[in-house]
Symmetry: C2
DNA sequence: CCCGGAAACTAAAAGGTTTTCGGAAACGTA
DNA sequence: TACGTTTCCGAAAACCTTTTAGTTTCCGGG
């Protein structure tokens, strides 16, 4: 812990110039003689001078800082988005202030005020699910971008994964492998994510003019539910040759139970998961083919569009970001 | 997006008082008449005035903001620590600036400078493993606290999980259940975490004057290695009655393979994991008894001690935080 | 009515930086 | 020498708030 920090005033005195000249020298401005600039830089080095961002921000009105407001960062989805955003910002000179509201609207308001009083240049709001969430942007003095969970105000800027497209892609993959009796096991039906993925399945099957094998089985997001569903499904529809699962957890449970019942994956039943949660998807036997929502990219994109919005070039609307199919052994061709 | 933000000047004009009076009224200071205070507050409300934290910080030298520097926040361990810290801070009025250095020393320096120039009041450094890491605190103008991964400078303040104690606790639990032939499967031997946990096992066995069943099996942190180790162990030491695994991933692989080989868990073999990574520990069959490192609490504690250090009451040294045994079915009494 | 003291209020400074604009110096040209 | 031009430098204002050190107002007592 050193003493008082050096100011530009100290640097100027040491270099024997005025603070105006010191400022110009330090910021690489033109009208300062080369020899003078060197003297100033040497002085700054010697005092290990670091410009005070508060003073700078006070003057310019720009803090080069953004707020990241999450409802549930402990969740599976907030983190990669957060990292992607931090990535995009860190590349430049931006800093990120992180606030976790834990799903509490009061706490969210509280954090919002704290961020605004610190004069952040913009805000990213990360949802905890893909269900729309209340807009926070009503006449806020800074631009806001929503990631993962969209705002319910279409005038806001939101980036969400294209779950319909991702699910359709997964199902087309199964169809391309020659599977024809495709079942669907997924999460609770009050999640937009479940409904979107079921819709993607429906569209892909409709395009192929094939029926779905049995009704969609709605349940929880857990491995336990995957195992349970497997038992029900293999009993009720013994001839299914593929299952599209709404999450990797469900898929992991499913393959485990199927395996125990003597069904070979992928020979008898091909299985596709969702999320590409690597601790599950690469560790099941066989490893899971799964849909990756590209959340880090989504976070990066959101951050880039926040930059654009800060520059006055906002892009309102809900933007659906494409997913990516990661093919592993659970759908290997026979 | 509103126009220019209101300053205390606007509030003062609207209320018909001086800036000084407005400031006092807004900050609840005494020498201002009640009727005046009400006028000022009304004006502030009307203009939705929010004090500029930059100006305030510039004057007071306190930003009420701390930096959180992580080497690998995508890791399993940084996140809970981060959340705990954010929790402790959020309770007050602190904001957290998050920077991820991705294990790159250059980037770390870069972020460090960015944080210091923004005049954070303090710093938490979160390690990516429990191995000591280079100190970052050499004559820094603000206090620093290390969490999860300690600093290599004993003069710094570090908080780490007590892996030796956690492992010993797990093994004592097995001994209390009457298990006598306890084996150990764990991660790479160049992780301090592995070595500490093996040491805890050694101590607990030594205290009970029992030998370890076979040599410690060092491998990776993966489920795959857990399965592989199970096969080796059940072949070489068919009579083991308990296994202490260095992580939940290893334990999950172990119980799966043991189950397939017809060994009943916990009847034939009791299994204990480490980490309490819930997606694994509660979803295996049977659910895993495991050691929880209390990382959120560790993060909270680190944050609280950072407060203390900011107030000039630092507590140097490496502080080992106790772990907690979470008992589930994989060690249920026979 | 005047005075003293308390209560309420205000002007001004401070905090560190950037920027504007005017001034000085240096140099070349008539 | 006078003048214009270019180059370099510095004084001062601006950003917004808090605090200090007055100054004014108010009120009761003599």
């Amino acid at each position: 812990m050193a003493g008082r920090r050096a100011t530009i005033n100290d640097v100027a005195s040491l270099a024997g110039v005025s603070i105006a000249t010191a400022s110009k020298a330090l910021n690489g401005r033109q009208d300062v003689r080369d020899s003078t600039r060197r003297r100033v830089l040497a002085a700054a080095e010697e005092l290990s001078f670091q410009p005070n961002a508060l003073a700078r921000g006070l003057l310019s009105g720009q803090t080069r800082t953004v707020g990241l407001l999450t409802s549930d960062s402990v969740g599976r989805f907030g983190i990669p988005v957060l990292l992607g955003a931090e990535d995009a910002f860190g590349a430049g000179e931006m800093a990120v202030m992180l606030c976790d509201a834990r799903g509490d609207a009061i706490r969210e308001q509280h954090h919002l005020r704290a961020l605004l009083s610190r004069r952040v240049d913009g805000l990213i709001v990360v949802g905890e699910s893909t269900d729309p969430r209340p807009s926070v942007s009503r006449n806020l003095p800074v631009p806001v971008v929503y990631a993962y969970g969209p705002s319910d105000d279409p005038g806001d800027v939101s980036f969400v994964p294209d779950d319909v497209g991702g699910a359709a892609m997964a199902v087309r993959h199964l169809l391309a492998l020659g599977r024809r009796r495709i079942a669907h096991v997924t999460g609770p039906d009050d999640y937009k994510a479940s409904r979107d993925r079921a819709e993607g399945l429906r569209l892909a099957l409709a395009a192929a003019e094939l029926p779905q094998a049995g009704e969609t089985l709605w349940g929880g997001w857990s491995q336990r539910w995957g195992r349970h569903a497997a038992e029900m499904l293999l009993m009720a529809q013994p001839d299914v040759d593929a299952v599209f699962c709404g999450s990797d957890q469900i898929a992991a449970g499913f393959v485990e139970a199927a395996r125990e019942r003597g069904r070979r994956v992928p020979d008898d039943i091909a299985v596709v998961g969702y999320d590409n949660w690597e601790v599950l998807s690469t560790e099941t036997r066989p490893a899971l083919t799964t849909v990756d929502m590209n959340l880090e990219r989504l976070g990066r994109t959101a951050a880039q569009h926040l930059f654009a919005a800060i520059d006055g070039r906002a892009t309102p609307g809900v933007h659906r970001m494409p997913c990516r199919l990661v093919i592993r052994d659970s759908t290997a061709p026979a």
